[in-house]
Symmetry: C2
Amino acid sequence: MEQNSRLKAASLTPGTVRPGGRTAKVRAAVLEATQEALVEGGFHGLNMDRVAARAAVGKTTVYRRWGSAAGLVADLLRDMAEQSVPAADTGSLEGDLLANARLVHRTLTDPRMGPVFRAVIAAAACDEECATALHGFYATRVAAWATCVERAADRGEVPAGTDAGEVVRAVSAPLYYRFAVSCEPLGEADAERAAAAAATAARAGTFTGN
Amino acid sequence: MEQNSRLKAASLTPGTVRPGGRTAKVRAAVLEATQEALVEGGFHGLNMDRVAARAAVGKTTVYRRWGSAAGLVADLLRDMAEQSVPAADTGSLEGDLLANARLVHRTLTDPRMGPVFRAVIAAAACDEECATALHGFYATRVAAWATCVERAADRGEVPAGTDAGEVVRAVSAPLYYRFAVSCEPLGEADAERAAAAAATAARAGTFTGN
DNA sequence: CGCCTAATGGAACAGAATTCCCGTTTGAAA
DNA sequence: TTTCAAACGGGAATTCTGTTCCATTAGGCG
């Protein structure tokens, strides 16, 4: 006698019930292949079939676990959000913000990371789940760098009540704007200007919470 | 005498040799349908087939003249770039920048324009032609608003040699960053803060060309 | 007003993406 | 170690997207 009444447990997100060995290995291979594919062809060129082939995984598995190209990117983003990058501590607000600006600049102009970020932004503009994942990614990063601004507030470099996260965002914004919106080339000078502008505005109290 | 050697002219971009009545009407209908489709389904949901149906145009025509979804968006962008929006002239740098920030904020939060801009950014991240078109669009807009900063320089509000375009970009950047990158909600306060920060940094000479 | 051909539109066609089916592999609990 | 079902893999079936063919419509010039 056969009893096959376990549809429920299995139908909810494969990979969560038995996350041991093979499943984890498949996920790692697929996310790696996804990133590689994004570097080469961007979000538009992301192809479930090719990702499966490159990851040496059955395409049925990719469709079943991730569902669509957007699902792949969303999971990749969740994976990226876990890899934390420690913030700088140079002793001055200007120095810390400059370090942040240079990190963002280096990331966006990196031949590998640049295309990935471009693709991820495209995916977020196309899919709600990706947008949420990208939001989470930056929330983590901004929170990490906000400590620089808090230290500056303690030192009296910026007014008390300054919105630390807003200062950090002000550093990244011009760089991402050039990168993804106005599609202009990004130079070292842009990073320096972004850091300087954010520091100046912060010192003047522009980012004081309401 | 027979001369049938104008195959060349026709093979290059249909719609350029005989741009009268019908052709122009078709383009208008297709671009209108494209925009409508972007509002509803974003760039990912843009479908040549459905655009053709909505525009009451043969899909062969859409494929022949625009080639792909990205081609449609690129042409839409070229169309949008032609519709100029005059810059403000309130008499003060702060006032003009605030007017600009509010315009950008209003545009991005508009239930119709918001999705279009989101889709256009996605398209630019996926396709080189769209990126170029988007770049052109913002080049036009930035140039139009740069006059505000030049007037401010004449009035002595900002140092001579200030990069006017850079000031204008600094106003938009935080708004677009929230809109497309960190995927955070956009509020009126964000517009005010962006304008104030840009004005402060400009007055301090941060945007002085090297 | 009438010709010539650019431009269009419908339908058949080709190809890629996605789903379905079912047997096989393998993690983990007994 | 044994057992059982979660998770995987290959390929057929299906659906959807994009292309090509050819007849038809309609600008623009003489």
